[in-house]
């Protein structure tokens, strides 16, 4: 759930929400039709978008083993699915929690940084063909966050504590 809304609902308890507290809810609800539409486009056009990315990637790395490219493409599909869900929920923590300490380690272990950088450039290019500027602006922050997490450009992971688990 949208973390800011969750905290507002938790704080409100037995009183009415103030005007300024309702603003984020209002903004989120207003943006929801666009978010849903963006999500539908990504869901319905996933194969087309990713096939175009895959074709360009093979051209960009003609001597690379397909196994390595396929692994990165598969991960990019997962990243895009997470980014779509993160965008729908407007929840950056969703993406970080799902990718942190896992996919970044895979990229490191297989040393596919060059492939990943090229792949996400191609993905960004392809997305402009399918999303309008409003839809792209909703998705891009999530995708940027996912890429930063994937390429190890985000901060060191926090230790697992009860508060990190939301308990």
């Amino acid at each position: 759930m949208h973390p800011q809304l969750e905290s507002i609902f938790n704080e409100a308890e037995n009183r009415y929400l103030k005007v300024e507290e309702l603003d984020p809810l209002d903004q989120y609800v207003t943006s929801l039709p666009d978010r849903l539409q963006t999500y539908r486009v990504l869901r319905d056009r996933e194969t087309t978008i990713m096939q175009a990315v895959a074709d360009s990637l093979v051209t960009a790395f003609p001597n690379e083993k397909h196994e390595r490219l396929e692994r990165s493409i598969k991960h990019a599909m997962l990243v895009l699915r997470y980014a779509a869900m993160g965008m729908l929920l407007e929840d950056e923590a969703f993406i970080q929690n799902r990718l942190k300490g896992w996919l970044a380690e895979t990229v490191k272990a297989y040393n596919t940084y060059d492939i990943e950088r090229k792949l996400y450039t191609l993905l960004d290019q392809q997305l402009t063909n399918f999303l309008n500027s409003q839809q792209a602006s909703l998705l891009q922050p999530m995708l940027n966050l996912a890429q930063a997490t994937l390429l190890g450009e985000d901060q060191e992971e926090e230790p697992l504590t009860a508060s990190a688990l939301g308990w």
């Binding site: 093979v58 598969k74 799902r98 300490g101 996919l103």
Partner: protein, 217 residues
């Protein structure tokens, strides 16, 4: 030509099975913790871990270390079975087909999500038949009574049994450094019992690197 559609099985891309927010589930009304398969999880209060150490010391004295090691072995055996079952179900491939990198990552995430700290494997001595494991932020080290030797016998047993099951050999695990003694992390050496057991007496007066050197000679 890479066919994207062929990369998907049942339109599914498996993610991180042990992602904390997906793996740990709680039911406030019932007061239950469960994993994503619906199996029960236990949250251990610090007082209970301290109580286990204190109770074992009172009841079994010097045998405490052996008791903890053997409990760890039992735990490690069950952990391995559950780990294999869950990963096989989720990824839809037998463990033997899973690349080592992904297996190790799953283990690291499993360890972290269960709250046992951060685990790393050093495979640089693999060709000498030894595996070095490093663990950070272990509650079993932090809550153990002060000692002049490493205290993570429970984890040593878990590691011996887990990797023993994985390799199909009887293995022994020796802890060489311990956070409870001011070390940066807990280091464990895993290998065949006849290789590792002679190093047992070196732990109190030798550094980890020196022990490794002795074992490799």
């Amino acid at each position: 030509m890479i066919s994207v559609a062929d990369l998907l099985v049942n339109n599914r891309v498996p993610g991180n099975y042990f992602a904390t927010d997906a793996y740990v589930r709680s039911d406030l009304e019932m007061g239950l913790l469960e994993n994503r398969q619906g199996d029960r999880l236990l949250a251990l209060p610090e007082a209970l871990i301290q109580g286990i150490y204190a109770g074992l010391d009172k009841e079994t004295g010097q045998a405490t270390r052996l008791v903890l090691y053997n409990c760890g072995r039992w735990w490690g055996k069950n952990l391995y079975s559950r780990f294999v079952e869950e990963l096989t179900d989720y990824y839809g491939t037998p463990l033997s087909d899973m690349p080592m990198v992904e297996f190790l990552q799953s283990l690291q995430n499993c360890w972290r999500t269960h709250g046992w700290g951060k685990i790393e494997l050093d495979q640089s001595f693999q060709h000498r038949g030894l595996l070095v494991v490093k663990i950070w932020n272990s509650a079993y080290a932090r809550l153990a009574p002060q000692s002049n030797q490493p205290v993570c016998q429970l984890e040593a047993g878990v590691l011996a049994s887990f990797f023993g099951q994985l390799s199909g050999r009887e293995l022994y695990c020796l802890q060489t450094t311990c956070e409870s003694m001011g070390a940066d992390c807990n280091r464990f050496i895993i290998g065949l019992p006849k290789r590792i057991e002679p190093a047992e007496t070196m732990v109190t007066n030798m550094e980890h690197d020196a022990i490794m050197q002795q074992l490799c000679n």
